[in-house]
């Protein structure tokens, strides 16, 4: 069985003045063709760094310290930069969080799209332009031909994000990493983009890693979910399983604190304490300081356990089934 992407024990560390930031620390997961994996976690838990690691764009002082990233069985971490470059934007694409910042403000949309075509395909300018136009049409931008010669600032945030998605689609990639692409957008616009992404996975069989901190979005979009906390994946599983029956106390807390899961006007269930600092994090379960069921045992690293088919958890005190 070959997954589109398999990540094994990925660790990405930043060597800063203040110490080593273990932004990603032993992360393993996989995605299959046509599958949407939701990568959920709080701010600073290492989601974005994971995303960048996957396409080899971790910049100094960061570097991949351990692990393998197998793309169709080929280890990306071992590839020379030039071959990696040919993968990027071609077979693996990424969409960034902030639509206002991802497009170069001083280059026209067509330039930014066509250069992507040219980077991976030897085609004429006319052909590149045609492809760009089609991609714009695909993400639902009206009158794409005219819009091609516009500048990013003439677009609203939602449209820019759709341009970014169109750029990601140019080469029909096998894998798209979407890093919170709708966080900055309004509800109605978010819905438009989610609709397009869904269509994409369905129609092209593209594998999708959807990074977000919003459980509700994942609930509606993803097939499987991976919950990150302090650089580690604490729980994975099918969306239905994880959301209905979280095994890790952190997952449970997270779900519990969503307002609509609580009765109106009552106090929300909250996770006490704060998200931890990743600098010089001590060994052991990073969540134990906030965890109600923590014991002395938790000062050791909890191993990954597989309590059910397709599920994995790292916790000594897994929650009871159903909440």
């Amino acid at each position: 069985m070959s997954h589109t992407l398999t990540v094994e024990g990925l660790a990405t560390h930043f060597h800063t003045r203040a110490g080593v930031v273990k932004a990603v620390d032993g992360v393993s997961f996989h995605v299959d063709r046509g599958e949407v994996l939701g990568l959920v976690g709080e701010s600073g838990s290492g989601k974005t760094v994971t995303g960048f690691s996957l396409i080899g764009l971790v910049e100094p002082p960061g570097r991949i310290a351990a692990g393998r990233i197998l793309f169709h069985g080929q280890d990306i971490t071992a590839l020379p930069e030039e071959e990696l470059r040919q993968l990027r934007g071609n077979r693996i694409a990424m969409i960034f969080q902030d639509p206002m910042m991802t497009l170069n403000p001083v280059l026209r949309i067509d330039t930014q799209m066509m250069e992507t075509v040219h980077a991976h395909a030897k085609v004429s300018n006319a052909e590149a332009r045609a492809r760009s136009r089609d991609a714009l049409g695909m993400v639902g931008i009206p009158s794409p031909e005219e819009r091609l010669s516009a500048y990013p600032h003439q677009f609203s945030g939602g449209m820019r994000q759709r341009v970014a998605i169109a750029i990601a689609l140019l080469h029909r990639p096998e894998l798209i990493i979407a890093d919170e692409p709708t966080t900055a957008l309004d509800v109605t616009i978010q819905a438009q983009i989610l609709a397009e992404v869904q269509k994409l996975a369905r129609e092209h069989g593209t594998a999708l890693i959807w990074i977000t901190h919003d459980l509700s979005v994942v609930a509606g979009l993803a097939d499987r979910i991976a919950v990150m906390y302090a650089g580690r994946i604490v729980e994975t599983g099918a969306v239905v399983d994880v959301l209905d029956a979280p095994l890790h106390p952190y997952t449970a807390g997270l779900i519990g604190s969503v307002p609509s899961r609580n009765k109106r006007g009552t106090r929300l269930r909250q996770i006490p304490g704060m998200t931890p600092q990743l600098i010089n994090l001590p060994a052991g379960c990073a969540f134990r300081t906030r965890c109600a069921s923590a014991t002395a045992e938790c000062e050791a690293d909890p191993p990954e356990t597989f309590p059910a088919f397709g599920r994995a958890v790292r916790c000594f005190h897994q929650q009871a089934e159903a909440s």
Binding site: S43, G44, M274, T275, Q277, L278
Partner: protein, 299 residues
């Protein structure tokens, strides 16, 4: 970005700033030189062998002596003398005093005036802003050196006149910077919060807006000091500037320049070195300040 909860030591912004500043050894060296120069300049009357501004202490018969020569009454001129028999060492230290005084003085005055106007323009907006900014545009559309030349031609020489000219030339830069910074800061929510707390306006301007506009002002301040010193030197070189009996470094260089070709290098070489070292040191400090105080370079 992510925050520290458990740091035991109290970290004031100032402490953070100093520790970041100290990261560049070159900048620290610059600061040390600036301090030494400042101390030399302040203590000039107590440490120089001669008061180079007192004509009665000079004797043209000692003029143009090479470094290390002795005067008629036994004084050793370590760096030689100029054409008036002025001890170069004393002259340089006094010159530093004038140059630094002019530079720092004008920068401070211009800074205060300019920042006040800039802040007012940003905070009050409307007509006040238009009026002030038009004035700034007007000022900035003339090259500094020309303005200074004209002013000094009108006012005549003198340390105060040079300072006045420099202030007139420089205030607009501060005003523009202050306004730019204030326009950004003014939109920040902490200003709205202060308004919401019904704090008096002056308090808002002085304790909330101003301190947060300081970093860019400090940066251009240091750079303007260096610029002012250079400009003063250039003006003195062009024959406008400070009085000839109280030469600044620039005037010392200009005086010695005539002797360049005749091999009496020390008359302009040593003041030149002093000027250079001072300006470079100030710029080193300014450079590092720019990096440390620039929020955009912060991760």
């Amino acid at each position: 970005m992510s925050t520290t909860a458990g740091i035991a030591r109290e970290e004031t912004p100032f402490r953070r700033f100093t520790s970041e500043f100290a990261e560049s050894p070159l900048a620290v060296l610059g600061l040390v030189i600036v301090v030494i120069v400042a101390v030399l300049a302040l203590a000039a009357p107590f440490i120089t062998p001669q008061n180079p501004y007192d004509l009665a202490q000079l004797d043209i018969m000692d003029g143009r002596l090479a470094p290390g020569s002795k005067s008629m009454d036994g004084l050793v001129f370590w760096l030689g003398t100029d054409d008036q028999g002025r001890d170069m060492l004393s002259g340089i230290i006094y010159g530093l005093r004038i140059s630094l005084g002019v530079g720092v003085g004008s920068a401070i005055i211009a800074g205060v005036i300019g920042s006040a106007l800039g802040l007012a323009a940003a905070y009050f907006g409307g007509k006040v802003e238009t009026a002030i900014m038009r004035l700034v545009d007007l000022q900035l559309s003339f090259p500094a050196i020309l303005v200074a030349l004209m002013i000094l031609a009108v006012l005549g020489k003198g340390v105060l006149n040079v300072m006045l000219a420099l202030v007139l030339v420089e205030w607009a830069r501060y005003a523009r910077t202050a306004r730019g910074a204030a326009l950004v800061e003014r939109r920040r929510e902490y200003i709205e919060a202060a308004e919401c707390l019904a704090l008096p306006r002056w308090r808002l301007l002085a304790f909330h807006l101003l301190p947060n506009c300081m970093p860019p002002l400090i940066v251009i301040g240091t750079i303007q000091i260096a610029r002012a010193i250079t400009l003063e030197a250039t003006l003195s070189f062009l024959g406008l500037g400070v009085p000839i009996t109280e030469p600044s470094l620039g005037l010392l260089i200009a005086n010695g320049y005539q002797y360049m070709l005749s091999g009496k290098y020390w008359i302009s070489f040593y003041p030149g070195i002093a000027l250079l070292v001072t300006i470079i040191a100030i710029n080193l400090v300014g450079d590092q300040l720019r990096d440390v105080l620039n929020p955009r370079l912060k991760r």
